[in-house]
């Protein structure tokens, strides 16, 4: 059992497990402390200073996201002095932020917007700053997301995410002061860097600096399992207008605990790829033959006439499902026993694999079934 230590926050007695931060203790007690660079999934770095709190008997204000609770601590999270400090910090961030919220994909879901409503700023003081739009080039090289440095607030969450969650170490903070910037090695476009496009940083960027290229918001979500590899990550597919527009990791899933790789997060577009088959197809052995007549002929006469060469030169014609099922059923019935083989799929569900082997064994009377497990 971890020891719980007693402390006071804003006059309220709380107990928090040893080793937790003041921020977590406060949040658990329902006390709000504004944060910007804090992300519960990665380590705290304390760069934004918005979460500063007063601790009795300490001379300086301390960042609550990095300060651990101690027995008997007396903490104040909010008073006029802290408030003013937060306002100044926020004003400084805003002074070089490209706040064109109307056109920003993050609008409505942005931590900076949220903080402005909470903390407010002093307009007079704010207007005295020199507002310098950076107008840095936007990195659109990655096929799935963009990086707009003009909206970046240098919280370093993406850098910590890339190091600690993705384990890729693709990005870091470069330069100092006004030129401070999130950058890949040698400042190459993301696509040419070692970035593996897992999108974990995009998921966690608090503002509109790292944003997915697909900006619509899903209207509903469906919990399911990734189809791309044997790890079987849990994910939510975001749906809008009958199409999948987004995927996010399922934090409840014990396998991936919310994590996804590039295939899981962005690899669902094949579902409505224009190359999807739209109708059952059957090969026309005679170019001029009508599809239906081929099917009828086969169903009546039995075995199709085949010679490999003719087959390969034939074209496909579209038929209806009824025709297709009849065609397959009636032709298959001539090949029962060991002259028939089936190859099942490691992409299909358990239920489908079960049914397929049952079909092969029961209806076709053979054990000639395999799949690509060996590969």
């Amino acid at each position: 059992m971890t020891k719980h230590v007693p402390l006071t926050i804003n006059g309220v007695e709380v107990r928090a497990p040893e080793g937790t931060t003041i921020l977590t203790a406060a949040q658990d007690a329902g006390i709000y402390i504004p944060t910007l660079c804090h992300c519960p999934d990665v380590s705290s770095q304390g760069v934004c200073r918005l979460c500063l709190v007063k601790i009795e008997k300490r001379r300086r204000l301390e960042p609550s996201c990095r300060t651990l609770v101690e027995e008997g601590m007396v903490v104040v999270t909010d008073d006029a002095e802290i408030e003013q400090l937060r306002q100044v910090i926020l004003e400084l961030i805003l002074s070089d932020h490209d706040f064109n919220c109307l056109l920003c994909p993050k609008s409505g879901n942005c931590r900076l917007q949220e903080l402005v409503t909470h903390i407010d700023y002093n307009e007079r003081r704010f207007n005295r700053f020199e507002h310098v739009a950076k107008e840095l080039p936007i990195d659109t090289s990655n096929p799935f997301f963009n990086f707009n440095p003009n909206k970046c607030i240098h919280c370093t969450i993406c850098v910590r995410t890339c190091n600690e969650i993705s384990g890729t170490h693709a990005i870091d903070m470069a330069h100092r002061g006004y030129d401070l910037k999130v950058s890949t090695f040698a400042n190459k476009p993301l696509k040419e860097s070692v970035c593996v496009s897992c999108g974990e940083c995009v998921e966690r960027c608090p503002v509109g600096a790292l944003t997915p290229k697909k900006v619509e918001h899903p209207t509903r979500e469906v919990k399911t399992t990734c189809t791309h590899c044997g790890v079987g990550c849990g994910l939510y597919l975001g749906i809008r207008g009958g199409a999948i527009i987004r995927a996010r990791g399922d934090r409840e899933n014990p396998v991936n605990q919310g994590n996804l790789c590039v295939r899981g997060r962005y690899g669902h577009e094949f579902v409505d790829c224009h190359e999807r088959l739209s109708f059952p197809l059957v090969r026309a052995y005679d170019e001029y033959a009508q599809a239906s007549s081929i099917v009828d002929e086969v169903t009546e006469k039995g075995k199709p006439v085949t010679a490999p060469l003719v087959k390969r030169e034939g074209k496909f014609v579209e038929i209806t499902w009824d025709q297709a099922i009849k065609y397959v059923a009636s032709t298959l019935s001539h090949y029962k026993g060991d002259q028939f083989s089936a190859i099942s799929s490691a992409k299909c569900t358990n239920e489908e694999n079960y049914l397929f082997q049952k079909f092969v064994r029961v209806v076709m009377g053979t054990n000639n079934i395999d799949h690509c497990a060996r590969l």
Partner: protein
Amino acid sequence: MAGLAASFGSGAMTNSINEIGKAACIFAIGTNTTANHPIIGRQIDRALRNGTKLIVADPRQIPLCRKAHIWLRLQPGTDVALLKGMMRVILDEKLFDTSFVKERCEDFEAFETSIMEYDLATAAEISGVTAKEIAEAARMYASTSPATILYTMGITQHSHGTDNVRSVANLALVTGNIGKPSTGVNPLRGQNNVQGACDMGALPNVYPGYQKVDDKEVREKFEKAWGCDLNPSPGVTLTEIFEAAHAGKVKALYLMGENPMVTDPDSKFIEKAISRLELFVVQDLFLTDTARLADVVLPAASFAEKDGTFTNTERRVQRVRQAIEPVENARPDWMIICDVARNMDAKGFDFDSPDQIMEEIRSLTPSYGGIKYERLKKSGLQWPCPFPIHPGTPYLYSDRFNTPSGRAQLAPVEYRPSAETASNEYPFILTTRRSIFHYHSVLSRKVPGLNALRGEEHVEINPADAASLEIKDGEVVIVASKRGSVKAKIKITGVVTPGVVSMTFHYGETRTNILTSTALDPIAKIPEFKVCAVKIERKESAYISKDYLRWGTGGK
């Protein structure tokens, strides 16, 4: 997975993915985890942050090597020699778990003899890893507990893959690293539902739950449940299917959701075999290279358009849920199968939903006995889960193995060289790999963004070889084996050693598997993807420099 089944009784990952992060030592052999199973790669990262020791054995300089405490850069196809060297050290230095071996293993003596006939120097010579490194790795693995082993295709895709797997199993057994949390022998399965397809009996020799078709009692159980007589002789395997088709013995083939024209070895042969079929039915999302050869193509629904379950690499049965209506006219595979079966007047195919199918699976598959849809709402269940209140099994063999005696089988294993070695004519060893952006050949290739990230094939070659061949980075070359040739771009990199070249097989445009060998592992029937001999020619001239012939032939 035949090797694992022989050693322990069943062939699945023994432990769970989230146990990897808590292991004290991880031995990753033949697995480029970072690219193939990125989320498991992150578990390894998590472990490393907590001070876990990492040993990597791989001929290529994969990203994991940078993080490894020991990297054993072995020659492709020499895994057995390397592992025997490690076990020699473990036996010599008495680092093995005597009580575990005594209580839970069989045939230690025969195993010991087979290890003893082999000294460390021989292992070092064959594998190309120094004796010192082998000994260090052996000590690290044997003395840091709990230790877990991860492997993938690098181990199984050899003509001696079963031997490789048995050696890996031996290593875990002698050190007692099995049957406990964060230990085990963990094959990371490739495609999303390979495990499930095996579990469901999409195999020529077993019914669902690995129940043997040639076992009379088992067969009678299924005959009763399915209400028909069943064929008692095991069927033919994937590669044998194409051989039989080529020989005219198999006349009709029904293929569901696979693309053997790109993913199977020696695909020219497959094309020829398919052309000899009288009837070829393909069920797929796309008109794949294989479907183009079919007589009938049935459009199938994708994972987002149907309900069902997948079983992941750690035996976890998880729900797949319908998110959207089937695109165009596609239908879920299970509906198509039911329709075809009913049209052939078969009984037992009247299902209205996958839920009902699972109920039937449950009744016939002991390890799935407790898997019900209503239990899978929040997260999945790991089999064996024999009855409806069973919580599932995160790690196997905590008190007995699945063998008749309940004890694991230590097996003597011989090192055999790969079926194909480099020669003067074909001086390079080609090994295949995967890219993080694609898995097999179809689905991910239809995602424009993934193609933008890695849209074409690259042949990786060592700078020294590139220099002696006088080829430049990005140059298009012809890679040829005894079986055929393909064109691809050169990528010069130290990731591969001299004498070795590496390619992926995701691309229909560059069908790498035209080159690969059909030499099969005699037991598991896995084709030897990882090792085949090739030559590289510049496009303009079939130019072979004498200088590079020595690379890869073992000469110094």
